[in-house]
Symmetry: C2
Subunit: 345 residues, 2 copies
């Protein structure tokens, strides 16, 4: 794909042919050169697309079934690659999606920026913007194997000459078990902390707390899962340093999750345990449809690709009226931990 | 239950023992007298509770399994009776719920009233309010048998002396098939039109359109089902006349739905048809969690009974990535009708 009009919109002069995951031959065609001195938006786009390939390929090796790959374009500017594996051998549903969206920032969004302490006067608009990111949600069949979520994104508002005026990174990764194995939670958090500590010792404690607060079902008064890290509006270091941090986070995904998955994916389980997993899937749906800002924003934005946004939902979910786990069961212990998030390291 | 503090809150002097569905003996204890000259709030409460009994009893006769009955109280004022039947012989999940809520209206709610053309100055508050209603959602097992929903409610804001200052009725009823039988849609709409026409010839066309507009998934650009009637803020006639209308609507529920259910509940169906029903159940969840004002209000209101609010959700639902029905199938025809609501009479 030649993304000429993208860079035109953003006021850039150069034409670049960008990375694209080809549905048939499954390789990247990168005919333009993206180097360390290219604009961050191109480097981030290249990074999320290459991370997507790496993760899709590893998950296919584990599952034995291939992902379905759809590329799409947004009429108002942008495109995406949605890789979804459904009813696999290991995964009930697995989505690994990247999107690149750009154009003129709507006034409503500018006003929202102001409340986020971003210094933009709507009267100075319209502003060209660019956003790119990667989203992953994996729902394994086995109720002993946790659901995992990852999202990393870069957002930029440009000047007339195409240089960034305001920019930030956001994202995180969190784990949602139906059955809680402490060693899994500890492994997951320890991996994330390792990545964070390499860049800033204040990051892990801050982003761990932020994650517990963000992935919270207020109406149930419980967390979605056992957390991980979450951050938004991150611009407290140079773009170069933060890009390195986000790349390390993204590359930390497979080491944080795959060892857990391998331990759990073939464990024996009962019908009752499968039923409990289905109830927890229902809570996942509740969080995503009722509270998740990204999902809500997407569903309320005309022109967004609904199937990509809702690829995060599990294949199956259950709502059982007034269910509560029996006393001293492992189901009850999970709920207790979700009601009072704990430290795992 | 003696609801003394209820009437104290509303500035009423009389103590009344109100109707309550007793979990064990399943009869109403109505020791206080509610007559045609009682305040509308008492008459509406009595009506929704008696309609609940009538409908629960009829549904139990059809299903062969008993409803689970829970009574609850709201610390801030109010109570409810939630009757839910789960994994029955005919119904996957059936909820018939009444609630009575009262207290002091929060300022945010008063401001919302203003936008609804209700003449209330927040500075004159706080205002005592009273709301009561009945909600029904029935999800049958058989994919040929449609889901049905009903809700009727009365809302009142009181003066210091306990007389109503502002009041209105709202509600409606609508049908959500997975497989479309025109004769069912026509029967359902004809029954509702019959009830409406007895009271006002303008009601059915107006409320039919309102229903199509309200039960609409904007992100999917399709209606939830084949509609019915919906209205809100109804105060265009005397309370007496509108109460009669709402009672007729409520009593019209069984005749509008039961003949359809009886025709469909034992029809043969394939695994593929069951799968399609599960996908449609997913859309039902999407509407209720993303768009339904009542559900959203409940989930964002501290102190509300979540299990009652979410009793409307199906027992099971599915999200299949990028599914689309095959050409010229009955599944495709349903989607076409949902995209362009039609007249059924």
């Amino acid at each position: 794909f030649i993304y000429y009009h993208q860079y035109q919109t953003l006021g850039l002069k150069n034409k670049v042919e960008c990375s694209a995951l080809d549905q048939d031959i499954r390789i990247v065609k990168l005919t333009g050169e993206v180097t360390d001195s290219s604009p961050m938006r191109l480097r981030m786009e290249q990074f999320v697309k290459s991370l997507q390939r790496e993760i899709v390929s590893e998950l296919e090796a584990i599952d034995g079934k291939k992902f379905q790959i759809d590329t799409w374009e947004r009429a108002e500017g942008g495109d995406g690659i949605s890789c979804v594996l459904q009813e696999g051998n290991v995964f009930e549903k697995a989505g690994v999606l990247v999107s690149v969206v750009y154009g003129q920032l709507p006034t409503a969004a500018v006003l929202q920026m102001k409340s986020r302490n971003k210094d933009l006067d709507p009267a100075d608009g319209p502003f060209p913007f660019f956003a790119s990111g990667i989203s992953i949600v994996l729902h394994p069949h086995n109720p002993m194997a946790p659901t995992v979520h990852l999202n990393y994104r870069y957002f930029e508002i440009g000047n007339e000459d195409g240089t960034p005026r305001i920019w930030w990174f956001g994202g995180g990764s969190d784990l949602t078990p139906s059955y809680l194995f402490d060693e899994d939670a500890t492994h997951f958090h320890r991996t994330l902390k390792g990545v964070c500590d390499k860049h800033d010792l204040s990051y892990y404690p801050k982003f761990k707390k932020w994650c517990d607060e963000y992935f919270y079902l207020k109406h149930r008064q419980e967390a979605r899962g056992i957390g991980g890290i979450f951050f938004d509006d991150l611009d407290d270091k140079s773009p170069e340093e933060l890009f390195k941090f986000v790349k390390d986070c993204g590359r930390g995904f497979l080491p944080s999750y795959i060892p857990i998955l391998k331990r759990r994916k073939d464990m024996p389980f009962t019908n009752e345990e499968k039923k409990w997993q289905q109830l927890r899937r229902g809570r996942y749906v509740e969080f995503n449809l009722v509270w998740d800002r990204g999902t809500k924003f997407g569903l309320h934005t005309p022109g967004s690709r609904i199937e990509s946004i809702l690829a995060s939902l599990p294949l199956t979910a259950t709502w059982r009226y007034n269910h509560s786990p029996s006393a001293n069961s492992s189901e009850e212990r999970l709920v207790e931990v979700l009601k009072t998030p704990k430290d795992w390291i």
